[in-house]
Symmetry: C2
Subunit: 166 residues, 2 copies
């Protein structure tokens, strides 16, 4: 099956909509530059999360620190930048956990999830339109909060961490 034609049908700030013909199959896809999310463990062994209001889901969500790639930026560089902006945490040792696809029926947005450990504390510097609360959970507290997690990347990161990361 090969792609024969592609057209941008709507252009946005964070994502575009493209219409692609793959052989006889026509798909309308939301296309995003890609994102990063970080399973960040502080020096007390707590998972560092953020809580913020998400207009798309009309409620506040507890999430892994995360954000979109800047143009041309590598996933690791974006992950280090986003983690420092949102929580102040920097340095440490990093490894890639995996890349996930949030909604592969119509969304092109690879999300790279990293595990970051031995992090140093520092000053956060969130974007102007972000009102973030930073929440730190011990593994036992995370187990207790699992039921309430609704964000896909956060569930994947938290469940992988509880399973393999410790």
């Amino acid at each position: 099956m090969k792609k024969v034609r592609r057209e941008v049908v709507w252009e946005g700030t964070l994502f575009d909509v493209v219409r692609e013909e793959w052989g006889d199959t026509v798909r309308e896809l939301a296309e995003h530059e890609g994102s990063v999310a970080i399973v960040a463990i502080d020096r007390d062994g707590r998972l560092v999360l953020t809580r913020q209001f998400r207009e798309a889901v009309r409620e506040s969500l507890l999430e892994l620190p995360a954000g979109a790639l800047d143009e041309g930026e590598s996933p690791l560089a974006a992950a280090r930048r986003e983690l420092q902006e949102e929580t102040g945490l920097h340095g440490g040792s990093w490894r890639k956990l995996r890349t996930i696809h949030p909604s592969p029926g119509f969304l092109r947005e690879p999300v790279s999830i990293f595990l970051a450990e031995d992090l140093e504390e520092g000053e956060s510097n969130p974007d102007e339109d972000e009102e973030l609360e930073v929440v730190r959970l011990t593994p036992a507290e995370l187990e207790a909060e699992l039921e309430g997690l609704e964000d896909a990347k956060t569930l994947v990161g938290a469940l992988l961490y509880l399973r393999e990361g410790r």
Copy 2:
């Protein structure tokens, strides 16, 4: 924070793009009717998955049986319909595992994940544009395949199942 204005800026088949002003915050959001996914366990205790080519991610993915809500359809009705269409499995006992948000920064698509057990075998009836391979994995085989899973809802469902479902 209250929503003050909303405008559909692009209208598609599977999702629309809306521009919303929440106070001073302007968001461009992809808005989808909502989806369902099923952690389906056959009578031999195997998890039933599907593999199909996904144009959005340009590769074949192993996923939970899943699909979009028809207009006005309840998540449970949609889940029973999709499971039967894609795998032939029907009947059985069902419970809701949780609702997840695939990409809450810009995507409004609640995904309801169900656990279905004691299912009866039957004839599948996939949509014309779906070329689906059905794959059944024992819990041990699922453990071995985890590393290769890339779809967010499937990782969430599989990890919750391995953790709590058995």
